[in-house]
């Protein structure tokens, strides 16, 4: 699959810090999540992709172009939704979206109609003539998305698009972002520090930590079924040793058990055998089950246990 963003040994140094350190990233078509804690280098990478910054060394290619050479041509094909609240309070949402559609190259009449269409797409059709300063955080995030897509880019880059949203607004925003990709074929790269939402909607992940690549690859490669069973038990006051008993019985059956508080992660046999073993052990110990399912590796695991703890940056693909 061809890459829409590709970096090679990318380094970005500021006077006081090295924001990116030898980054080799390959982002294919689809919805890609750029994850990492604050200060991981996500925004710096976005700035380099947009050509807002010049790399200290290394190369970046976006949609086959070099942002530092073909910046204007490239940026005509990219929509950008910043993290910061940049919307001018006095301006109407429609005027803002239309203005940026024109700046990105749409003819006047087309910019007008597409500004309305974009605002309808993000659910602000009826609110499009409201001043931006009177809108809620969720509505303003949608306006930023609308202006990013209005000029019909090939790629949109969204910096923390769900920042400041409540869970319902977050779900709606994520759903719109997925629609933009699935229905209209616009590639999306979004940065987020909320791993759960990236896991939910992204096809690919690029994970950064302190300017280094922690992991990259498709979501199915990085997170997904691991093999094994995970059971979470209830800590019963009248049966204080029940969880210990379950763990002991499972170990006696020769399977591998990792315990974290009230959860047991069980592996070392086929899933069917493990389910039977867990059910038998729970029944025998009189324990109570809260959740029972197949073991999955989450993005959180990618960060916390498997890679960060080892201190070894790794490319999964």
């Amino acid at each position: 699959m061809s890459a829409i963003i590709e970096t090679s040994d990318l380094v970005m140094e500021f006077p006081s810090t090295r924001a990116l350190d030898g980054l080799d990233v390959r982002v294919p078509s689809g919805v890609t999540g750029l994850v990492g804690a604050n200060g991981a280098g996500k925004t710096t990478l976005i700035s380099l992709v947009l050509g807002l910054l010049q790399p200290t060394s290394g190369t970046v290619r976006v949609l086959g172009l070099d942002p530092s050479i073909d910046g204007p041509r490239l940026r005509a094909m990219i929509g950008y939704g910043p993290e910061r609240n940049v919307l001018p309070d006095d301006m109407q949402a429609y005027d803002f979206v239309r203005h940026f559609a024109q700046v990105r190259g749409l003819p006047h009449d087309e910019a007008r109609s597409r500004a309305s269409d974009s605002l309808y797409l993000v659910g602000l059709g009826e609110e499009r003539f409201r001043a931006l300063g009177t809108m809620s955080t969720g509505q303003r995030q949608r306006v930023k998305l609308a202006q990013a897509i209005a000029a019909d880019p090939s790629l949109i880059v969204l910096d923390e698009p769900t920042d400041g949203l409540d869970p319902v607004q977050r779900d709606e925003m994520l759903s719109i972002i997925v629609d933009v990709n699935r229905k209209f074929g616009i590639d999306v790269m979004l940065s987020s520090h909320v791993l759960e939402e990236v896991e939910r909607i992204c096809d690919h992940v690029v994970a950064l930590d302190a300017g280094r690549l922690v992991a990259q690859g498709s979501m199915t490669e990085l997170a997904g079924a691991l093999g094994g069973v995970e059971v979470e038990l209830v800590d019963l006051a009248d049966l204080p040793g029940s969880i210990d008993a379950v763990e002991r019985q499972l170990l006696d059956r020769g399977v591998v058990v990792r315990r974290l508080d009230f959860s047991l992660s069980v592996s070392g046999a086929t899933d069917d055998e493990l389910f039977n073993a867990v059910v038998g052990a729970v029944a025998s110990a009189g324990a109570r089950v809260k959740t029972l399912g197949r073991r999955r590796r989450t993005l959180d695991d990618v960060f916390t246990s498997d890679i960060v703890a080892s201190g070894q940056p790794e490319g999964a693909s």
Binding site: P82, E83, V86, D117
Partner: protein
């Protein structure tokens, strides 16, 4: 068993279908039509900046200063044209206000605008992140600055070009204008050159001030202080300390207006200065201001 009647003939077309009209709910679609280049981006940013500066499409409080400045600039011209209508037979309006001397009546408006416009146009974008937004479009730093310079120039032209033009047109209709089409065109050209000279120098200086601070008020106060202080310092040096008259040239606010007199072939307020030095110092202020803006923006770290 009831059978539906066989279709005998196609149903008559609806009026809308007959007329070929149809309601199309397009919704959001991909766009594969033509795209404009950077020129349109520059025009769009310039126009948006002008609208914002003049308070168009914004609440009333944002319109107060622009309306005040424009009123100060145009009221004398309207008054002079009115006088030429009422007492034109007994008084030559050109004796009240000629084209070069007109700027003396609207110094306050020009100062107000110069102090207000460039900071409004430049500082806000840097502070609220709109600069990064613009630089994420086909605009580069250089083309962004071109758009902003055009916006400041055109906005200042409202008070530097419009009133003398109004004066020329009004006088012409009252038969008090230049003699013949040739002279008329010469005056028109001089008005444009004068407006450009005043706009150019003040745009460059005010944009330089606006590029050096992220506080709009500081930039505005800086421009106004420079405009008020430099004539005082120049006078103190020339008249108080009895230094060379050429020290007048540091008067950044008076020199553009001095150049206007020279464009109209008049000696001006400082006849001891050579026209060449007046032209050179205006060019210097203009290029110096532009250099400061370009230097500042080339060093600006814009991320997100």
């Amino acid at each position: 068993m009831n059978q539906p009647p066989p279709p005998s003939s196609p149903p008559p077309p609806s009026p809308a279908a007959a007329s070929g009209a149809q309601i199309v709910d397009r919704g959001f679609q991909r766009y594969d039509g033509p795209r404009a280049g950077v020129g349109q981006a520059i025009r769009s940013v310039s126009w948006q900046s002008i609208r914002s500066t003049l308070g168009l499409g914004r609440p009333a409080r944002h319109k107060i200063f622009p309306v005040l400045a424009i009123a100060i600039a145009y009221v004398p011209a309207i008054t002079f044209v009115g006088l030429s209508v009422i007492v034109g037979d007994i008084l030559d309006p050109n004796e009240i206000a000629d084209y070069a001397g007109y700027y003396g009546f609207i110094t306050a408006a020009i100062l107000l605008f110069a102090g207000l416009v460039a900071p409004e146009v430049l500082v806000g974008d840097r502070r609220n992140g709109m600069l990064a937004m613009y630089l994420s479009t086909p605009l580069k730093r250089s083309t962004y600055l071109v758009a902003k310079v055009v916006a400041v120039l055109l906005t200042l032209a409202l008070v530097t070009l419009g009133p003398p033009l109004l004066l020329l047109i009004g006088y012409t209709f009252e038969n008090a204008g230049p003699d013949g089409p040739g002279d008329w065109l010469v005056v028109l050209l001089r008005i444009f050159m004068s407006a450009f000279a005043v706009c150019g120098a003040l745009t460059a200086v005010s944009m330089a001030a606006a590029s050096l601070t992220d506080r709009r008020a500081f930039a505005s106060i800086g421009v106004v202080l420079l405009a008020l202080a430099s004539p005082a310092v120049a006078s103190a040096l020339v008249e108080g300390a009895e230094l060379s008259p050429n020290w007048r040239l540091i008067d950044v606010f008076s020199m553009p207006f001095e150049l206007v007199f020279r464009i109209f072939g008049e000696p001006g307020n400082f006849p001891e200065l050579s026209t060449l030095s007046v032209v050179a110092v205006n060019l210097g202020w203009t290029l110096g201001g532009i250099a400061v803006v370009v230097w500042r923006y080339s060093r600006l770290v814009v991320a997100r």
